[in-house]
Symmetry: C2
Subunit: 509 residues, 2 copies
Amino acid sequence: MNMHKQHQLVKKEKKINSEGPVMNTRAITPRATDYSQWYLDVIAAAELSCNSPVRGCMVIKPNGYAIWENIQRVLNGMFREKNVQNAYFPLFIPISFLEREAEHVAGFAKECAVVTHHRLQLENGKLVPASPLEEPLIIRPTSETIMYSTFADWIKSHRDLPLLINQWANIVRWEMRTRPFLRTTEFLWQEGHTAHATNDEASDFTLQMLEVYRRFVEDYLAIPVICGKKSESEKFAGAVFTTCIEAMMQDGKALQAGTSHLLGQNFAKAFNVKFLNSAGAEEFVHQTSWGLSTRIIGALVMVHADDKGMVIPPKIASVKVAILPVWNNADSKQSVMTKAEELARNLNDAGIETVIDRQEGRLGPKSFEWEKKGVPVRIEIGPRDLANDTAVVVRRDTGEKAHKNFAEIAPFVNGLLDEIQKNLFTRAKKYRDERTFSVDSWEEFQRVLEENGGFITAHWCGSADCETQISEKTKATIRCLPFGQPKEEGQCVFCGKKSESRVIFAKAY
Amino acid sequence: MNMHKQHQLVKKEKKINSEGPVMNTRAITPRATDYSQWYLDVIAAAELSCNSPVRGCMVIKPNGYAIWENIQRVLNGMFREKNVQNAYFPLFIPISFLEREAEHVAGFAKECAVVTHHRLQLENGKLVPASPLEEPLIIRPTSETIMYSTFADWIKSHRDLPLLINQWANIVRWEMRTRPFLRTTEFLWQEGHTAHATNDEASDFTLQMLEVYRRFVEDYLAIPVICGKKSESEKFAGAVFTTCIEAMMQDGKALQAGTSHLLGQNFAKAFNVKFLNSAGAEEFVHQTSWGLSTRIIGALVMVHADDKGMVIPPKIASVKVAILPVWNNADSKQSVMTKAEELARNLNDAGIETVIDRQEGRLGPKSFEWEKKGVPVRIEIGPRDLANDTAVVVRRDTGEKAHKNFAEIAPFVNGLLDEIQKNLFTRAKKYRDERTFSVDSWEEFQRVLEENGGFITAHWCGSADCETQISEKTKATIRCLPFGQPKEEGQCVFCGKKSESRVIFAKAY
């Protein structure tokens, strides 16, 4: 290669790497080398988020936020089917509200951001807080208290029930150790809050919303989950019971992907949320709350991404197809671009969101860019392909390539997107099932956890003491008491006492 | 009316009034009696928002939030056409960031909520703030500083420009006197922030986004606006210049409905946002920011609502048609409901969002409910209408009724919605134009403002001193220096010095 050519190459690559506002050129650490670093590298390479100057807070970049917007769109549709309405409640909660529900305050007091002043003033050239508030306010760590104090005004009669409200909001929990998406001081979520006339109805709605989450996470995010109930010590602060969906990450650890609580009348009593029943008597309402957060984007990375970067399931990807035209000279550029535009039009008309990468440059680096961003399908078109009236269709999940005539590309891609969606789910489920171990002795429990990680299904006597000791000794916690588990006589894996069914243990995020 | 009948009536009305979670039964104070109370009454009657237990913060109820979601949907589409991408930045801003841009800190320091602690602990049975932060954080009153400190990392080369980012977020400004939507301690908005290679491009983009706002507010919200530039004293803290769209409310006062700023290199210098130009030299970027908030919902009320309640322009209404079936007995109920459902299907199939009010009750109260909520079109169906194969179509803006055969209703309503949209705009424009006065003397200025209110177009010499004195004496401020104003030699309405064109004065929200 002569100097001139080499120079050109470098110039081209530079152009590509500096295109766009948020390019990252670091190589991705392989999972096998350093899983934690791999996670951070994928997020950087796919431009999902970056650090902010505020401790523990991240910036969600356009690529990451686009995933969140798609999550919002799909979930809003599912919530509407349940007659849930969106509303917005204040960011601030008076401290006294938190005090009203004893378990709730214990659960959240240690991680509250507290607003104490409402003005800044200059003092010796520095801005300092001025004008203290009469009652300090906390930034919502969750909105039960602020919402239910208002529900008390809204609900008068049984005809006002059920009240089904959802809020999309930012939440603050002061976390000591943070990781992008998985655990940040501020995060985004939706929180549903409902009030019902009877316990049965509330309990049923709790499970209906868990099923909404299951359906969403499995069908759209292609993440297989286990539905179940939390143990007493893992339940939400103030709930009667907590249900959850649990997913396995590629390091065998569990991540709670969504949660739905039956609150019973605990908060209703604390906030005096009553209704007149049809017999004219006053009763406290029965409540539920349920939430899913930007944490799920962390799960999306940790379930589907690989050593080449992000892999976005087609149903949640904003860009489903990237067309990558390449050319040798001005003439071939024109004919390749014309074809690329025609193809993009066809695909977009068929409802398949498609973009064209119009950058100068070789196929390699262009392809690499879209691969690490996780776009489900790439279509490469060069002058030689054009001569054959074909293009190369590459799927992100397997890397498999297919040469296709232009006329057959749209229907082929349509089917391919379905296939990728299914494959991602199947692959993740296979991964999970292969790392789920039925264990019957404490020795085996420790060995399996040490050697394989993953999920352990084991008998547990139901005592909080055993639960605590297991977790202290192994860092594995009870992820859930799975629904629909067959009854099976057995002995607690830790203490040997009687147990009637298995629960799932795992280390968790 | 005998006792039995009266009892029945009350019972029926009670049923209707207690249907739904957030019903309000107070009568609406007429505008002419008490404009401020009318505004609050309309918001309560239409269930747009309610007070919260936190000083100065409101709860946005489902009806109000649905309007905001539609605003988001339409604006997102318009932003996408400009290649603007959504992202999300932290809620918190370190105090030191605010200090970096001198005008900016002066503009916002007085109204910042300050987070000083990150934990609560029990002390004598009361929760009190614990664990002070090393550096206090403010809750974003706007995000220039936190965003641009990150832009400095994102932007390296001229190829990274323009960077076009938008954020949907909650904002906190500690206001002493608050009013729902118009001025609340916490509010929702979108804030666009862009960086460009040249001043010309940034300046042009500032105006492009103002035009987006004009188009959105006029075409979707049916609110006529005047586009112009703010005077120096009214511009954004830290901007080179501020442009705005100004609308007139039904009490003749002005409301700024959207704003777009050229920030020049002020923030770029404060946050070191530089790029390498194509010649390889370092330059500071040129920036813009632009925003529109939930305040616009206050404008929507104050421009279109009447003494009967809210009036929502069809293009921003989630529910465009409410079908109100009424019946005498079980038989007629069935046939009327069947017809109502058929009609709702037809309208929804035609893309016209339609709901059926299935409540028991007389037509009057049912109709009144949907009237005060501002739904653009109501369709009344009773047994008698059914016999004639007709229904009564009522438009909200004029109250006009039309008897229509079922077969013609869908196309008729389609046209009617367009007509209502146009009429609301025309009516508001007529109202504004009739209350806009060209004034040439200080006496006339004071008299017109006193007697008529509204907008005054008058000559102004350009001095901040005159501006301040006018505002101190009359409470009217310069709303804007309108674009496209013809040059006209004249004399400052206050000091008599030379002026080359008129500006708009008004009292404002």
